[in-house]
């Protein structure tokens, strides 16, 4: 079975965008119009909330990607890397995919191990214009696309379920694992328990595309190998 690739390590670029965004989130940095256009400021704020995803930023008929996201996506998709404006005196790397073909690009990126945050325009651009020359169209992330949560025909194998599985080890019970699985493209849900020796077989039976793993299990190498072997991507469980 083909190993799913881990999200690519982003290359060191001239633009340490991730650090900039982190600093923004902590309040250690602020944007001024001299540094960033209002649009880039909006982009940076949204990106900071989704550091582990590629941000598909809607601009008219395109989803645009900037900074390290653009570098990574252009490489994975084999599309032109270009630039748009400047940040801290350097060109901002950019690439874009047309909305009408976005499914196809999403599929490639998911297959390459990326997660994608889809950021849409939430109002008519004409409304933003009315607010003043410097106002930006309201945008926000409407959906995260991950291997276990896709529903588009183009992204799915019609003859295969697409399970997202949460794996949980009950405290106190030494060998018992609990599994809950859902295929949101069909609504099917399965729940069950497994033992340490049978877990790899149960994962192979379900063949999930994505497994949610609590931090307690995250360090278990044997478990990670079993998940990997079943062909699933591993996602750390969100904090309760």
């Amino acid at each position: 079975m083909q190993r799913p690739k881990a999200p690519r390590a982003l290359p060191e670029s001239a633009m340490p965008a991730v650090q900039v965004f982190e600093a923004l989130k902590d309040g250690a940095a602020t944007f001024s119009d001299a540094v960033m256009t209002p649009m880039m400021a909006q982009y940076a704020k949204i990106k900071a909330a989704h550091p582990d995803c590629l941000l598909f930023y809607r601009m008219g008929d395109f989803f645009e990607l900037f900074f390290d996201d653009a570098v990574a996506a252009s490489r994975a998709l084999g599309i032109q890397l270009t630039k748009r404006g400047k940040h801290l005196g350097e060109d901002i790397p950019m690439c874009g995919v047309p909305i009408v073909r976005s499914d196809e690009y999403l599929q490639k990126l998911i297959a390459a191990g990326f997660r994608i945050a889809v950021c849409e325009q939430l109002e008519d651009p004409a409304l933003a214009k009315k607010r003043g020359p410097k106002s930006v169209v309201r945008r926000d992330v409407v959906r995260l696309v991950t291997p276990g949560t896709i529903t588009e025909e183009a992204l799915l194998d019609a003859a295969c379920n697409n399970f997202l599985t949460a794996l949980f080890k009950a405290p106190g019970q030494d060998a018992a694992f609990a599994l809950a699985s859902v295929d949101i493209s069909t609504g099917e849900c399965f729940v069950g328990e497994s033992s340490a020796p049978d877990l790899a077989g149960d994962l192979a039976r379900l063949a999930p595309k994505e497994v949610l793993l609590s931090t307690a299990l995250d360090g278990d190498r044997k478990l990670r190998a079993a998940i990997d072997n079943a062909g699933a991507a591993i996602t750390p469980l969100p904090d309760p």
Binding site: V142, R143, T151, L167, K169, T186, E193, L212, S214, T235
Partner: protein, 663 residues
């Protein structure tokens, strides 16, 4: 979670452990994070795994190529070979059942009854499959609509899906004597959709666009206000055409055109050399100049601006009404999602049963007898994948073979490479899986007492990515089998111990057979090159020897692919090597070496590969030491002449420990 699933109490689905509830909660939380404001369709959770299904470990699934070949492709897998479904949902159901065969004989029988009926009533099956073939994927269409990613074609999918369900239900209602599984399907196909089908049929047109924003998917006559706005929009387009001819007449310029773009809206366009009259009074009063291009001049008029506003307004209002209808229809579908999900599941199952019946007819499969006995009796069994591939390549018929592990539950299978040992082993495992998933099987007859676990250790592959050698992988998998197989399990072992030095391998294989026979007491097929092992059949009463027959003809061998009682007289390694195309000179030299080795040994040894160059240094065969206990074996293995004093002392301590262990 109760709220998410829209039920009063989860207990309705059986009780769940705290761990299971925590896992469900984690799933729902993650769906909230990723779907942001959209609630996916969720069916009531079902129990999976555990004692209700045949436990098959990951290595066995991969080795038996159930859903993927070892090369990772669908082609060459069991799933690919048996899939005769005509819908995606049916294909998913088949994959899911193949992955989780049952252990409850009654449930398996219920499934087999359904297949038997559809095999028997060929006309009914043909009619059902005709309808199924055109039935869309209800589950996936509904899911997209629920998550706000649906389009008019998904609504069309629901309409055609529900309509197909009704047609299928009508056909089934005319049939008599339906078994329980099919009756349950028929019931779900007739579930009350609360008028959804009627509403969708009345609302949706025939040609549906991909995106809702394209509009034009609501049938005329469904909403009077929509028709009104569409008429306004279309009438105004007529007005534009009328204006163009009027302007042409008024100005006397025949080449005058009314065009449209997003910046100017509707405008009059003239070529640069004919535009003169419109730029001067009196015409310039009515025709306001807007734009001059290299070879065109553009004007607007009050009438065009007015028509523009009416057309855009009407088109926008028409689209808004269509989107409103879309949301209303989606909401109606969501309000009946329980019924729709049940219908989708019923369609999938019906397709699956029809497909298994089709397969049974086409490939001449037999209904297996499945019960709680410890029987495993296959008469004229075939390998489902190899059989079809032989047929496809016109490579002759598949030679069927019997297998009976009922009385003598452990078969030792010997025979040369290439003779078909592995095929024989695998086909019996696959037949067991097919039977327990509720399919007919490739055999003249089959009686299978349900297995609780299926293990197979076939072929050898390095797992270099994790730093494990072939031998290590083999031992890890063998350990799992010996630790977990019960007296209800079915075990397929192919050439255990091959990956290490001859006598180590032989000893491990020997001990493994004893363990399977005495401790696990499972039904097992054990293929081996170690002909010494065949002696075990005389010692262990639950064991028997079989071999895959070959004929020798002028130094060549002919494979008969027939499994017969007895042991192989030799390995035919050189003959197989010759078949593989090793150089003639090499083959001749190998024959010389073999002759000499056999002579030195005093008697021809049964197994060719037991003759490596260090054979003379080897200790007496493990066979003889087997009964003497670990102390004697260990003592026997010591060669004082080859030891340092330190090693000798260590050995002495080891023997003392062994001795105290025995006492």
């Amino acid at each position: 979670m109760k709220k998410e699933l829209g039920v009063a109490a989860l207990d309705a689905f059986g009780s769940f452990s705290r761990g299971e509830l925590a896992a469900c909660a984690a799933l729902l939380k993650y769906l909230e994070i990723t779907q942001i404001g959209h609630k996916p369709v969720l069916r009531p959770p079902r129990r999976a795994g555990g004692a209700a299904s045949l436990v098959i470990d990951a290595a066995t699934r991969a080795n038996l190529e159930l859903v993927r070949s070892l090369g990772g492709r669908k082609q060459g897998s069991l799933l690919f070979a048996i899939d005769r479904t005509v819908t995606s949902a049916g294909a998913r159901e088949l994959a899911s059942r193949l992955a989780s065969p049952l252990t409850c004989a009654e449930a398996i029988h219920a499934r087999l009854d359904a297949v038997a009926l559809l095999l028997d009533r060929q006309m009914l099956r043909v009619k059902l499959r005709d309808i199924l073939e055109a039935a869309p994927d209800i589950a996936r269409a509904l899911s997209r609509l629920a998550l706000g990613r649906g389009g008019p074609r998904d609504l069309g999918g629901l309409r055609d899906g529900v309509s197909a369900a009704r047609d299928l239900a009508r056909l089934l209602a005319q049939a008599h004597g339906l078994p329980a599984e099919i009756a349950a399907i028929a019931e779900r196909l007739t579930g009350d959709d609360g008028g959804l089908l009627a509403e969708l049929t009345a609302a949706l047109g025939e040609e549906l666009p991909h995106f809702k924003r394209d509009g034009g998917f609501i049938r005329s006559g469904f909403r009077p206000d929509l028709d009104e706005n569409r008429r306004l929009r279309d009438d105004s387009r007529g007005v534009i055409a009328a204006l163009q001819s009027r302007y042409a007449a008024e100005t006397g310029i025949k080449a005058l055109k009314v065009r449209h773009n997003n910046v100017l809206g509707y405008f009059v366009e003239l070529s640069a050399n004919t535009a003169g009259p419109l730029l001067a009074a009196p015409l310039s009063d009515a025709f306001r100049h807007r734009q001059t291009l290299a070879n065109a001049v553009r004007f607007t008029t009050a009438e065009l601006v007015d028509a523009e506003a009416r057309i855009t307004g009407a088109a926008e209002r028409a689209l808004a009404i269509e989107l409103d209808c879309f949301e209303a229809l989606t909401a109606l579908a969501r309000a009946h999602e329980r019924v729709l999900c049940a219908m989708a599941a019923a369609l999938a199952e019906l397709d699956l049963y029809c497909a298994l019946a089709e397969l049974a007819e086409e490939q001449n499969y037999a209904r297996p007898t499945v019960d709680k006995a410890r029987a495993f009796r296959i008469e004229a069994g075939r390998h489902p994948v190899v059989e079809q591939s032989l047929l496809k390549n016109r490579a002759g018929p598949f030679i069927a073979n019997d297998c009976d592990l009922t009385a003598r539950r452990l078969w030792l299978v010997t025979g040369p490479n290439m003779a078909g040992k592995s095929t024989f082993l695998r086909q019996n495992a696959l037949i067991a899986i097919l039977a327990q998933m509720g399919s007919f099987v490739p055999a003249r007859s089959a009686h299978i007492g349900v297995a609780d676990r299926l293990f197979s250790r076939v072929g050898a592959s390095d797992d270099l990515a994790r730093g494990r050698s072939t031998f290590m992988v083999e031992m890890v998998e063998t350990a799992a089998i010996l630790n977990q197989a019960t007296d209800r399990s079915l075990v397929i072992l192919d050439e255990i111990g091959r990956g290490t030095a001859t006598f180590d391998g032989l000893s491990i294989a020997w001990a493994a057979v004893e363990h399977l026979h005495d401790v696990n007491k499972c039904r097992a097929l054990f293929a081996t090159h170690y002909h010494e092992l065949t002696e075990l059949a005389g010692r262990l009463d639950g064991t028997t020897n079989v071999t895959v027959a070959v004929k020798e003809w002028k130094d060549n061998i002919v494979f008969l692919h027939e499994v017969v009682q007895g042991t192989a007289d030799k390995s035919y390694g050189i003959q197989v090597a010759k078949l593989a195309g090793l150089p003639a000179s090499l083959i001749a030299r190998a024959r010389q070496v073999l002759a000499r080795l056999e002579k030195q040994q005093g008697k021809p040894r049964p197994a060719l590969e037991d003759l490596p160059l260090f054979a003379q240094l080897a200790p007496p065969p493990a066979v003889e030491t087997q009964d003497r206990g670990p102390l004697l074996i260990a003592l026997h293995a010591i060669n004082p002449d080859a030891m340092t004093p330190r090693e000798a002392l260590d050995a002495l301590y080891r023997l003392k420990t062994l001795a105290s262990g025995e006492g």
